[in-house]
Amino acid sequence: MRVPWIAATFFLARSALAVFADEAWNVDYHYALLGLPKQSTSFFHQPNPSSRASLIYTLSEEGVLGAVNPRDGSVVWRQLLLSEALAYNVSFLRAGEGQDTVISGIGSQVAAWSAADGRQAWILDTAGPLQDVEILELSDGRETAGAKDAIALSGGEHPAVVRIDGTSGAIKWQYQWDGVDQPYQVSASTTEVFAILLHKTLLGYVKLKVVSLDPVTGRKTDEHVVSSENELASAETIVSVGANSASPIVAWTNSAHSVLKVNILGTKEISSFNIEAHDSHAVERVEIHAPYHTNSLSHFLVHYETATSHWADVFHIDLKNSKIEKAYSLPKMTGKGAFSTGTSDANVFFTRVTRDQVMTVSSASHGVLGRWAVAGFGVAAGPGESVEPVHAVSEVSIKGTSVSAVRSAVLLSTGDWVLLRDGSPVWNRPEVLASTVSATFAIPAEVQEFVQQLEAEAHGNPISAYIHRVTRHLQDLQKLPAIMASLPQRIVQGFLGTSADGGIASDSFGFHQIIACATRDGRLVALDAGNPDKVLWNQQVADLQLGQTWQPSVSSPEGGIIEINSKASAGVRYNASTGEQLFSILPIDETAGEVALPVKYAIHKGELDATVDTKMAWHFTPMSGERIVSLVPRPVNDPVASIGKVLGDRRVLYKYLDPNLALLVTANDVTKAATFYVLNTISGAILYSNVHSGVDLGSPISSMLSENWFAYSFTAEASANSPKGHQLVAGELFESLVANDRGPLSASANYSSMQTGTEPFTLAQTYQIPEPISHMAVTRTRQGITSRQLLAVLADSSAIVGIPYGVIDPRRPVSRDPTKDEQMEGLVRYSPVLDFDPKWYLNHQREIVGIKDVVTSPALLESTSLVFAYGLDVFGTRLSPSFSFDVLGKDFNKFQMLATVAALAVATFVVAPLVARKQVNARWQFA
């Protein structure tokens, strides 16, 4: 008897908790990303020298410095060093042995950060762009007890080598030179600092010049040229300039990658090695992996790579006579491989990660110390694509003479950063998503079919719709055995509240849409919005050369299909569920079918040009001195449920609904003015315009247009009568400001903007907001019945807020209290200051960094809109601006409902005989 009561108490207690915890952390997801890590700026390092626990540090291609916990892949801390990511930025990250700081160099800034929590210790601006940053591993007693000093090499007009105090960031000495020699890299041994310069010869070749500097005073002690006259055509074939190994080296190859030449810095001898071709393919890449610690053995590994295979040679440096000898080779393997260096005391270990195994060897001998098979990296890839390791960093733990475990953080060719413990993947971070440049939602094909069936039933005549529905349900009966089999599990999950929403195919709410993200390096990555923990598929769609940029725009023209448009290729389509490329078709202009001659407009040379059938329709030239900042057209698919607004007295204010609207923002850099135009894009007429003077054009200007309203935000400079502040302007267009008046066109069925130019009546209202909005978007629902939320990206507080439209409604009564009718409409008195309600923050506690764009998509449920934000971080959620009126929330207590029904059923069964007896007795017995 007691067990049900305990169970009931348990469930009721659970439901009581559920009242307070909303659906945060359930419906939303967030990837705190760093960007693709670079080999030269990633390493394992112990933030606390006394503890053996280490973190993985990286300074990524996006210019984000971060520390990742190798146990679970979570970000411990991160710092954005670049406001705008450059495709191939030059950046450096170093950590001295046993140091609790890491030193980064990017652009012209050298900065030191606390390794444990990411706090900045110091920052220093150098005169020119940085060419190299190293840590000076000296033991001359000059450096302070705490942090080791750094040396930085800066380029620019006055190249210089600078020694920076590790504690304060002050410059200890500076060595400048004048001349044509370009700085290349800097390296330090225990006794000397070497600056490697590139000396251009008359014939256009490059010679390597090594300048030795005294680390204490910074005076030049020696200078010599190491490479011969016409060996180096460019700096690209310089393989490596050895870092703080016991004896730093410089290595280069000839342009055919057939000869490797190595020079130990500080000496003049050059050792030359032939690179044997292992097969018909030419060597494409040569890389050197050497330990960074001064007390490590001076061994290094040269990694050769061809198009199909890779191998490596290990070399030993004899410190006494400065000779370099090849010790052994690691055999050729097909596919790509990644080598990484790990040290333990003086011993050096090389870890080789290939597509199917992880192998560790000692630098001293070729005996394999540990070999683990890799069953798979656990990442999604495109059809037929083999996942290859690109580069790796590893940490080797040694027990006695054998390797007990190897942890390798491997960047894969799919853009995933995976940690392999021995051979098994522990976590993976889809860092490729940090470089997303365009994203779209796509309805899976199965759901699209369901949607079409529902639409057929909604629009057909009742009888045929009924027959359609019955046949559909009869077909659904085929799935009955499967459903019956999974029923007990589903019931249990429903009770326990652990039910994950079903898969993509059985998604009747439309939450499982596929998000396709095109990344800067030419990949297309698909996520499931309802189950975002794993990547659905991830494949290379554009073959980009180094330094080439790609500006794709992805869209989903119909369910189940993703289309990529870019400069190079228009209308390449992919299956949204599997990522297969569909047969390439000519870009059919779908818009042409609907209207005879669509007007097409584009920004061209700073002007807005519209054409009809190659003829100029209109063009918009900004006023002299103005430039176009942005253009936001009304979304093509923007359903509106009601064409008017119902007032409190039940009269109607008609909305000015025209699909051919666009909001254009221009700025004048001289007068600091920003102009906002609402344009009719058929006739080019200006429907509304507003000039704001004294605008801080360095701050973001964001704008948005939807339905019959627009919003924009800018930062106003301080003026005589107002302080500097951020403003949000909301405007709404009406057919007429007189209620029940539908304007001059009245109820005519169609209209032509060319012939009848109607102008809207616009109401606008300005609000003072606490921080600038860097980007705006708006929620979209299936039929547009649900009220809207303006989604504003707040870059300063790393957040996204959803501002309900009612709050920024321009019809809020100004300087008077709302009348009773206005109160019924939900209008409240206008107040110029709009504070962001903490409840509006979609991200809750999380920090969403670097968001560049927000895309929204309607779910199948009218109440719900899906939101996906990308940039550096990836964040997504589901929003119900008018609350979830068409679906039961998680707080609905199924157990309580069923218990009530069961209790009533029991009561009925118990009471029924009693009542029957009483009724019989009432007939037969007389009191």
Binding site: V595, L597, K600, A602, P633, I643, D649, L657
Partner: protein, 194 residues
């Protein structure tokens, strides 16, 4: 002295006699005072016939003439016909007090307000059947019309109330769903430059 002693004692006074003598209800006395109208003693039920002949005060009721009956029936019918009108002020106050919000009580009251007059009008023949004769049929028409009118007044009160609650589609917003947006003849598309 002897003469005085020979005298018989004087008869007791009347009040003594009345005091000592048991009081017996005298039938003549009872019969002379008529019972209050509508009072029927239990003993009289069985011997009503004899009493009627004996009692002279109870005059036999004169049967009203058919003309008088008609007048009476018309009078009664008018009362019936005007009864709904008499309830109107009370209903109006009730409706006013419940307010215009859509709540279960106001909805139920409005429902009763509609149900009453409609059922009354539907049952109009049954209501006046008893009072209708061949001779007063013409007059009865007017009465029935008045009855219908009074019920219509009650109905009007209900409609006024429903209107106050905003349930009548009398405004533009009620027909907004049937108005469609104008279709533009042209469409413009933004071509982003890559």
């Amino acid at each position: 002295m002897a003469g005085t002693s020979a005298l018989p004692p004087p008869p007791p006074p009347q009040w003594v006699l009345e005091l000592t003598a048991p009081t017996a209800p005298s039938k003549a006395k009872a019969g002379s005072v008529p019972d209050p109208p509508g009072f029927t003693p239990t003993t009289a039920i069985q011997s009503r016939q004899s009493k009627n002949t004996k009692g002279t005060a109870i005059a036999p009721r004169k049967q009203p003439s058919p003309e008088e009956m008609d007048t009476l029936k018309i009078k009664k019918a008018w009362e019936l016909a005007l009864a709904p009108a008499k309830q109107l002020p009370m209903n109006a106050i009730g409706m006013y007090m419940t307010g215009n919000s859509l709540q279960i009580f106001s909805i139920m009251m409005v429902f009763m307000l509609f149900k009453g007059p409609i059922t009354a009008v539907l049952n109009i023949q049954g209501t006046f059947q008893r009072l209708e004769t061949e001779s007063n049929r013409a007059q009865m028409l007017g009465v029935k019309a008045a009855f219908v009118g009074c019920n219509m007044l009650a109905l009007a009160l209900g409609i006024w109330k429903v209107n106050g609650m905003g349930l009548l589609p009398t405004t533009r917003s009620d027909w907004l769903a049937w108005e469609t947006a104008r279709d533009p003849l042209e469409r413009a598309y933004y071509v982003p430059s890559y």
